[in-house]
């Protein structure tokens, strides 16, 4: 029961704020809609029994969205994007980009929809979901164990990736030093 309620709340939040991200013109409001979307996805993770991933999602993206907002307001001065043409959705850029966006979306929608329909055809009856859908197993310890055993390479490599990202971001963002020698 609670599972269903949580699922519908999260799904509504996710999709509604996802649409807001697309539709809203003000970049700050877009960022806030993105935050809502991420919180909704965190709720969906909870309904999937992945509460650790949900908390990670919350923690990383709340921080990330603060940074995005900082950039959004500072680099754009919060001017809405210039309006081109007269479209229903004001944030949609110009006619060409809107067309391409819609075509891509349509192609993707059709192909994925086809796959999904195929999955309904073969039936998802083979799923191994537990008998009581509102019972979950705690996953934190298992994630930790897997990170230290099976996925240890990925774990260590991710730290190398983050090192690269840290150094790269620091170098790129650093203001150029005056060439005094």
């Amino acid at each position: 029961m609670f599972l269903t309620v949580l699922f519908f709340l999260s799904a509504t939040l996710t999709i509604a704020s996802g649409i807001m991200v697309v539709v809203v013109r003000n970049l700050m409001h877009s960022c806030m809609a993105l935050l809502g979307c991420f919180i909704g996805v965190a709720g969906l993770y909870v309904t999937l029994g992945a509460n650790f991933i949900a908390a990670v999602q919350f923690m990383v993206y709340v921080g990330g969205v603060i940074i995005l907002m900082l950039f959004a307001i500072m680099l754009t001065g919060n001017k809405p994007e210039e309006k081109v043409g007269s479209f229903l959705l004001p944030a949609m850029g110009n006619r060409r980009t809107l067309t391409w966006g819609l075509i891509t979306a349509l192609v993707f929608f059709l192909s994925v929809g086809k796959i999904l329909l195929g999955m309904f055809g073969i039936g998802l009856g083979k799923k191994t979901a537990p008998t009581d859908p509102s019972l979950f197993e705690s996953t934190v310890d298992e994630i930790g164990t897997l990170l230290l055993t099976d996925h240890v390479l990925a774990f260590e490599m991710s730290s190398v990736l983050l090192l690269g990202a840290l150094i790269g971001a620091a170098i790129i963002a650093r203001p150029e030093t005056s060439k005094e020698k």
């Binding site: 609670f2 500072m74 019972l135 934190v140 230290l148 730290s159 190398v160 963002a173």
Partner: protein, 136 residues
């Protein structure tokens, strides 16, 4: 591994609803009780009695951004450490503590070397940008 019911997340939802209720209730009260006689000067943003010039939303110094970027990386690193660290004890109890220790140390070493790099290059300094020429 312990099994739990999804019901354990009920309090979270209840607290959100309750807080939203409290905030809306407070507003509701103040709508009824508070005076409404706003004037033009009352609603200008506070700027020590002067009329504000221009919008407040404008550029800031770049150091705010660099701190932000470093924060994102460190946030993710510490988040990745959580599950590993919380099984460290059980690994130790199983006699595989050495393995876990080495893996955690390698991970932290890479993290610390990134931090040392930023420190050495002055990205963690706050006032250094006085000495730097802003690029046109």
């Amino acid at each position: 591994m312990s099994v739990y019911s999804i019901d354990v997340f009920m309090p979270v939802l209840i607290l959100i609803a309750l807080t939203v209720g409290v905030v809306l209730g407070g507003h509701f009260l103040s709508v009824f009780l508070a005076p409404k006689k706003s004037s033009k000067f009352q609603t200008t943003p506070y700027e020590c009695g002067e009329l504000p010039v221009g919008m407040a939303w404008s550029m800031f110094n770049v150091r705010f951004y660099v701190v932000g970027l470093i924060f994102i990386i460190f946030d993710v690193e510490s988040v990745l450490m959580f599950p590993v660290v919380s099984v460290f004890k059980s690994f130790n109890d199983m006699g595989r503590g050495g393995l876990a220790l080495i893996e955690v140390l390698i991970f932290m070493l890479i993290l610390i070397s990134g931090m040392a790099y930023c420190w050495r290059k002055g990205d963690l300094d706050w006032v250094k940008s006085y000495k730097r020429k802003q690029v046109e």
